[in-house]
Symmetry: C2
Subunit: 220 residues, 2 copies
């Protein structure tokens, strides 16, 4: 995480704690961590004008928790378009973990979270033209559990028409996107699911730039 | 399952396969199973008038798959009110497994499934005034996985206002509801989550009739 703003003169990070219920506690934890890394942290829930906070932000970090709660709060505060503009047009760095990763993609269709609230749509920021399943878990061959595996759930998503690729990011993996280049970071690798194709395994260092082109994002 | 229609003169069961993509294959599997138990099975997807099929049904079985897909299809076919009426007013037996269990409760807020489609609401049949988490999994104390446990996800649901009880039904457990009596069946027990209270463990045979009273379903 230390290097995610390496090419930027970022001093202050805007934190969005909406995915957890106790925003004060979450901001406190995040602030301590970011300050230890040399950044100031402003939490959006302490701002009287969240939209203006996004407009003035130098970098944005959205933390994990419940993805439905996070997305609903972003809609409730009219922040999706603002964040999209700040990142895609103005080019400030965006960092997301867990729910904050789901939210950066086309939609939250491949979240692991329970739908504890009902957002007005499942469409998210669309900073990248595909979906991610964070905390991706490989099937446990010894399991007697009769619920679907993570891979089966993603395949069910791809049974629906016009669904984009899904990148299963294991614990310890992250995707670095810079301009038109996307690279798999971390140590655990990732599993890529394309609609109608067999899932493929990818090592750390894999160049995923081809996922950034729209032609790959909507397979018929 | 053999006894779920024991007090009824049921010969034919209406099957609703909407939770899986391949409805023909799902109906074939279900038909073989029900015929081996001595029942005829009619699959609603083969009917030209699904609403009429519900009105004429002697018993309804909704199978598992993806809960969002199932709920959306029930809304798309205007079946929620019809099934509710048939079961609650006319008193025919209802059997649900997995997604079919989620759908019988207040809402699908505690499903384990991914939101692969967007239903017009999360509210479900409301045959009982609480929610269920099917395939409930106990936390794995040895896990290094950083995603939330099932219990943590349910607690996040209860951080939201006016949320009903959630019954975590393990693999191998089922809830038998007859009139104003609810009993835990099966061999694995269940875990009950009430808003603002510590979860409690319950053995097979537990009388859960108190969950059927509305006073328990909406804690402030």
């Amino acid at each position: 995480m230390e290097n995610w703003t390496r090419d930027w003169k970022v001093k202050r990070v805007l934190f969005i704690p909406y995915a957890l219920h106790d925003r004060d506690a979450y901001a406190k934890t995040a602030r301590e961590k970011f300050e230890s890394l040399g950044y100031e942290l402003e939490s959006i829930h302490e701002s009287s004008d969240p939209v203006e906070a996004v407009r003035k932000s130098e970098a944005i970090f959205i933390g994990g928790g419940n993805t439905f709660r996070l997305l609903k709060a972003l809609y409730d505060n009219s922040l999706l378009q603002e964040i999209r503009k700040r990142v895609l047009e103005d080019g400030i760095p965006y960092l997301g973990s867990s729910a904050g990763t789901n939210i950066a993609t086309v939609g939250i269709n491949t979240t692991n979270d329970m739908p504890i609230v009902y957002p007005p749509s499942l469409l998210a920021l669309g900073l990248v033209p595909f979906n991610i399943n964070p905390h991706y878990l490989d099937p446990d061959v010894n399991s007697t559990h009769m619920g679907e595996t993570r891979a089966e759930r993603i395949l069910q998503y791809h049974e629906e028409p016009n669904t984009p690729p899904v990148l299963g990011l294991r614990e310890g993996a992250m995707l670095l996107v810079e301009g038109d280049k996307a690279t798999l970071q971390g140590v655990t690798g990732a599993r890529l699911f394309l609609r109608g194709e067999k899932p493929t395994e990818h090592e750390p260092g894999t160049d995923f730039s081809f996922l950034l082109t729209d032609s790959n994002s909507q397979k018929p």
